[in-house]
Symmetry: D2
């Protein structure tokens, strides 16, 4: 790491920094600039954390050189992580992008869910998504049907062969959820719920980790690191929009560039969720295509058999007929991109 | 609520909105403007939620008139909530602002903690704060000493008479924590961990709820609403800075204006945390005063007996001698503000 | 507009609002809700502006129904604006997306500029871009070669047949600039330099207006409105990234969704600038494609004959050989999208 | 500066960086870390700018050690800049904070303006502020009365002895404005209108520079640097709120902490504008006090003789009677702070 001292740091201040570092086995080099003294230190940050140096008198700023997510970084593993399911579906690497579709929440009406699942299967999707536990900003909004919803999801999966995804909100639900679903999802609001990250980290189910509304890319990868660190290597990142100063036309701003950025620095697969990212039905198709063209490993889309009566997120859910049309175009688009990537070695 | 239709909404689109509303007992009134049709609807949003209307074809935007936090709002309770502790300490209303001081994390060295506690007591603080479970962005950072830390905290409290505050990160720790601490804290990263909000809502301990890095004031009050709704009326809000585009000089931007805003619309007490809000030792005193002058009901300050060796947040912790000086000036400042407010009925 | 009164607004407060509105010819309707009184008012906002109502005692909030950009909006003109150049190039509507390429700044070396121009022409670009006046955050950075740069630009244009684009920073340079360039550019930092917007509004050259770092979509369209209002109908919007809380990996966050949003609400053409939007060479191609796939009418790309010695923005400039490869793929991609849009009437 | 190379940078990449630096007289030192190679370079950034290094292949990131605002920084001038006016008023250093009051825009009614000016004078203010040229987001809003407004302002100043402040929007108005006003103001939207900064930099009038909605502290100081660099040393900074993700209750978020931060790193005086910072009448007094308590050198307040009929910003303007009460309390508060700072050498 590099330590920049305040302009008015004293010799004693500087010496104290040097001593702490050398006492802990760091190699240090100190350069007096015109204004600031700068100290380079190479060593094991587990013995002296940057925060501890920062607390010393006269330290202005610390610049850490190595990205702090070691397991998520390509520094440690260069090849893409590929997540494989028993039915042969694969996410990541050179595999064709997957599609996860389904209602925001699983509701009372199983037939409605099944209609969506059948449409998803016919459209070539690999996953059925649906919420059983819903994080809702207001306590007066629908909070999900819980285990009953998971039973429905599993039943719809058995009838269609789709894999299932559902959000886990609490570590205590984890064992139960693992009985029903193929992929666990951590929602944007829980991206720094570290207890939950650790719990899914000790699980053997793949996990979709959604980027938080205010997560930097670094924090997002560090949240993934918490899961990897606790043993679960099957983490799928999900870009779903970040908070900006403008929410008049879209709920969030989709950070499309984060996908190639993350692909450059991490080996983990990353998918996009244009439904939550925009909150607008008419933006799902263009943003899904934008995600695919920059290299996303999959798309998550909200579909409802009757959006006008949906208990949550109706505004951003596609009705089934529109979903079919969108999927037809997305499949064509995705196939062509995939074909070129595979056989023409064109840069995508 | 007010529903604004798209420019090209059809008569059928409009009729569908009107029907849904009237079928559910809303009184509606429809106005055709030059460009947009606007529908006013008065009724019970629990029967038709705004989100459900939003999902109808041709709806551009919905404007909800009444703030959605009913229990947190002065609409339902005009007088300030005052939280009273058995030892006579009170937070909120016309009571003198309280001070909560202590280390970021409780560490191995009980004597160090006790030194801080004694200094806090002598300086007139009412609460000893200290983390037992630490939410850390990186899995490689110190995560807290858990129950042992709570035992230390309680012991320091018994020796000094200070009340105690510590963060709860998981609902499963709640019963255990209630045995040790007087006030539970929900951290900024858990502000929308709804399972946890519901759990502390069913508790009978006062709760400090920290504003999330990206919480709007509305979302912050709705997070409080989740706790209130589940039965716990003793919620203390805490402004601790929000995320902005600039973190070169301060960790966060303290939204000082949020304090008088929240005081206007909610009856809940609100305190400020300039240590986390700024991340810089030299900014704690001025920002604490700024918080007091705009009406905060308390201050939370990080103090450490040896910040240069603190396991977390040393940079923003005051060492004990500096803390004593700061407290002397803060007490003088706070006393004078309180005196004027009480006896001169001057506006603060 | 809709006026929402404070909970504790008095009858006198309410009457005053009603009187002001009716005195100015508004039709009003007043609804007393459980908590808030709401007033609907239809009339000419030029006689009583929302801001004037907002200043009345007891007014909580005003919701304006009609978007305030009348000339930029599809409300007034449904068909796409198409901008045509004497040489037959067209921007907007169903025309094939254009490409504008060139160095950030035009530098001393004319041969270098010509190399870029020739490469751009050969790659099928229609415009040569290059800065003569450079807005620079620091006064110590290179500020552009001024008129000399414009002469070079014109000369390169004459030799290649490319149209030219350059940024105008001050109204007093306008006449001079119009002698040299085909399209004027207003930079992101001048998006609310209203004097400059008015001046280019009185010009008969097409104008590229870049979105400000912190412009909402509404403000962006209102900035365009200033130009349109002063008489210049040939405005080309440009999405170039907005400021967010994360600038570790990209300079800005490209708001890709803003393109289909703006296309829905405005008839003006919109292009994207992935060079400034990301600040990273490796992100230009993927983000350019993402822009095209969501409907952008053009792309602006920084190219330099020797980026390692560029006087500005070298990091985000493509060297000529890489530019050629990128353009080959972009052309293929763009042609296919255009073909489908034109002949297969597929939604893009 | 410190150059961090990409993980996969080649020896050739590294050598090229070293060569460019040494060829330009930099002293360099290269350290191979486990993952990244890091190069320290000491030398004159005017010969090789960081941007030029950044453009080299394999460079990941550059960390500049010395803050780039040399004239604005305490590195070059440790003592506070104090700006003195012929009538003895002083801004900055240990002088008592000044107050600038007046309407957002100067309007047709001179008597109204005079009423405000007299009230301001009686309340102990030193400056009368009022807009002649108004930057307005919409072209349909009132744009100011121009030179006529300046004549009114001067006349009101002559009758009361107040100094005057008004915003300059265009360099071409500068000479004319200098005939009328004592202090020029650069608005938030023009904070990076460099042509205008350069023009006021060549002026001999003091300049108030408002922080932009999305200016980092570094960019804000660099904007000041543009003025200082062109020769005008009398720059007064003004914190007026920044854009955040929440504008439901306040127009902007006032970054109160920026005041002590800027005081630490720059010698320039800084004032606050709680009227624009919050956009709410009821927040002006508390935020003004918050600004004073953290060390602001002055306050700017909008006052109108008839806010309900103001042509701009009525919502955030104080009516005269309320202004008098607020000023009485602000004066008492400010006097006490100043007294303590001067005579008790208490830290404020």
């Amino acid at each position: 790491m590099i330590i920049i001292m305040e302009r008015n740091a004293t010799k004693v201040n500087i010496q104290k920094v040097l001593d702490l570092l050398t006492d802990n086995g760091f190699k240090v080099r100190c350069t007096e600039g015109e204004i600031h003294t700068v100290i380079d230190a190479i060593g094991d940050k587990n013995t002296v954390s940057p925060g501890r140096i920062a607390a010393l008198e006269g330290v202005k700023e610390i610049k850490v050189i190595r990205e702090p997510y070691r397991l998520a970084s390509r520094d440690g593993q260069d090849e893409d992580t590929v997540i494989s399911f028993p039915n042969g579906v694969k996410i990541g690497g050179n595999n064709k992008p997957v599609v996860m579709a389904g209602p925001c929440s699983v509701e009372e009406d199983f037939e409605g869910l099944l209609k969506v699942a059948v449409a998803a299967k016919e459209a070539g999707c690999q996953f059925l998504r649906g919420g059983a536990f819903k994080p809702r900003t207001s306590p007066y909004d629908f909070q999900g049907f819980g285990e009953k919803a998971l039973r429905y999801l599993k039943k719809a999966s058995e009838e269609t062969g789709l894999l299932t995804v559902s959000e886990v909100m609490d570590a205590s639900d984890l064992d139960m959820m693992c009985d029903y679903v193929d992929v666990l999802q951590i929602g944007a609001r829980n991206v720094q719920n570290f207890k939950l990250l650790h719990a899914v980290g000790r699980c053997n189910k793949p996990v979709i980790l959604k980027r938080g509304l205010a997560s930097t890319i670094r924090e997002f990868l560090l949240a993934a690191e918490h899961i990897l660190y606790h043993g679960n290597k099957n983490v799928i990142l999900c870009e779903r929009g970040i908070r900006s100063f403008d929410s008049a036309f879209t709920r969030n701003v989709m950070d499309i560039a984060s996908i190639p950025v993350i692909k450059k620095y991490s080996h983990l697969p990353i998918i996009i969720d244009p439904s939550h990212g925009t909150g607008q039905r008419y933006l799902i198709e263009p943003l899904a295509k934008a995600g695919l063209v920059v290299g996303a490993d999959g798309i998550m889309i909200e579909v409802h058999h009757d959006p006008e009566n949906a208990l949550s997120d109706g505004k951003q859910s596609l009705p089934i007929p529109m979903f079919k049309e969108v999927m037809e175009r997305l499949n064509r688009f995705s196939n062509r991109l995939h074909y070129e990537k595979q056989y023409l070695s064109a840069d995508v």
